[in-house]
């Protein structure tokens, strides 16, 4: 009898709570549309039959396997070498001529472009030097950093480790890495200018104001306005720097993540010159 009473109590308590937990009947959501008042609402999208989120457009579907057509095609064969491909021949009646004009498709890559590896080296023989003028790469890629720095030092005749390189320590955060970010590591995000360090400005689509440009080693690097509350704004505040248009001489030129650059007027903390920004510690190194 006591057990029955407890059971009834439990049923009363649990029933409304369960109903609250699943207003959609376990489906996990609701759709817009149907009986909308006022503003027109977008049509509901189809839901995945198995439940969960509808991100079907963003999820790669497995590609159906195609029958192994045309796998066995000898080169230079023309129609004789692929005479019975059915519809393929019907749709491409001039296989003979086509093959004659491109007899070695398989080999063309090698024949016409035999020295891809060498071409890269030949066309870009001075990666080390290029990076001297674009020191920002150092922050982007640890793997490149070693090579770039080694190359730079040799090319600019900086022997040893840090000779002739001025480091301006952050006036605010003197501790270890990421002190400026509550100890949280920051890494550049693709698709954003400067990896998002200067603000969430999408590459090639930003509406941020252009703040001049810097030409280095034949490349022009556009500078944009640093967004408030961004890590870059924190950096400027730390050094009491005010961003200005790049271009004139006598400025503080700071290279940030991913080939980004900003300029500022020199002040008591930072003298005019070109600097590489270390995003770990928000320190500046002259280059």
């Amino acid at each position: 009898m006591r057990n029955i009473a407890i059971l009834l109590t439990l049923a009363i308590l649990v029933a409304p709570a369960s109903a609250m937990a699943r207003p959609g009947g376990g489906g996990g959501g609701r759709d817009f549309g149907g009986g909308g008042r006022g503003m027109a609402r977008p049509a509901p999208a189809a839901r995945p039959s198995g439940g969960g989120f509808n991100l079907s457009n963003d999820v790669r579907r497995p590609q159906p396997q195609r029958p192994p057509q045309n796998v066995q095609r000898p080169n230079n064969g023309g129609n004789f070498n692929r005479p019975n491909n059915g519809n393929n021949n019907v749709n491409r009646p001039n296989n003979g001529n086509n093959n004659g004009n491109r007899p070695n498709n398989g080999n063309n890559n090698n024949g016409n472009r035999p020295n891809n590896g060498n071409n890269n080296n030949g066309n870009r023989p001075n990666n080390g030097n290029n990076n001297v003028n674009r020191p920002n790469n150092g922050n982007n890629n640890n793997g490149n950093r070693n090579n770039i720095n080694n190359g730079n030092r040799n090319n600019v005749n900086i022997s040893g480790n840090t000779v002739n390189r001025t480091v301006v320590n952050n006036p605010v955060y003197t501790g270890g890495a990421w002190g400026w970010n509550h100890g949280v590591a920051w890494a550049p995000a693709p698709y954003y200018w400067g990896g998002g360090f200067w603000g969430a400005m999408a590459i090639s689509a930003t509406s941020a104001a252009i703040y001049g440009s810097i030409v280095a080693n034949g490349h022009s690097y556009t500078s944009y306005q640093v967004q408030p509350s961004s890590p870059g704004a924190t950096f400027l505040t730390n050094y009491s720097l005010t961003q200005v248009q790049c271009g004139p001489s006598g400025l503080v030129v700071v290279y940030g993540p991913q080939n980004s650059v900003i300029c500022a007027n020199p002040n008591n903390y930072v003298a005019a010159g070109t600097y590489q920004l270390n995003t770990d510690t928000l320190t500046l190194s002259s280059i």
Binding site: A45, G51, F53, N181, A189
Partner: protein, 154 residues
């Protein structure tokens, strides 16, 4: 099984009832909302999603438990007391598959404090222990989400 549980008497039985009710209430706390707008315009809204920050990833699970969107990589920086993140890596765990979701833009604001925080240059507030998110995928899908964080595990 249920009957066997209720073979407990007195205080034990009361404690069990309290525990069951308590666990139900915790489940009901999942009160986040996700809105997914396809590039073609179709919209789905998911209520009662569970929001968890697990080992520095943001996990958003549907109420039916069948789909979890995980943002596992982001460039995060603090804007005052709010953490603003530019997500760069996401996966969808659903139907036994783990599928990458390409994110091209968007921001996640996380307020881990016990008070509401106002976003920079905005009048919008992020409630205490809450997340506000808006991202766009490579396929043009917009995913927005807001809600209270249900669990944090470091």
């Amino acid at each position: 099984m249920l009957g066997r549980s209720f073979s407990f008497r007195g205080l034990a039985g009361a404690a069990l009832v309290a525990a069951i009710v308590s666990s139900t209430a915790i489940a009901a706390r999942a009160e986040g909302t996700v809105r997914i707008q396809q590039a073609a315009g179709g919209v789905n809204v998911y209520d009662n999603v569970k929001i968890q920050i697990l080992h520095q990833t943001l996990n958003v699970t549907t109420a039916d438990g069948k789909g979890t969107l995980i943002i596992y990589r982001a460039a995060c920086s603090y804007q005052g007391e709010i953490m603003a993140c530019l997500p760069t890596g996401a996966t969808l765990v659903q139907g036994g598959d783990v599928s990458p979701i390409k994110i091209v833009s968007g921001t996640v604001y996380v307020n881990m404090t016990s008070g509401a925080q106002t976003l920079s240059l905005s009048t919008m507030q992020v409630p205490a222990h809450s997340v506000v998110m808006a991202i766009k995928t490579g396929k043009g899908t917009y995913i927005t989400m807001n809600g209270t964080i249900d669990k944090v595990a470091k």
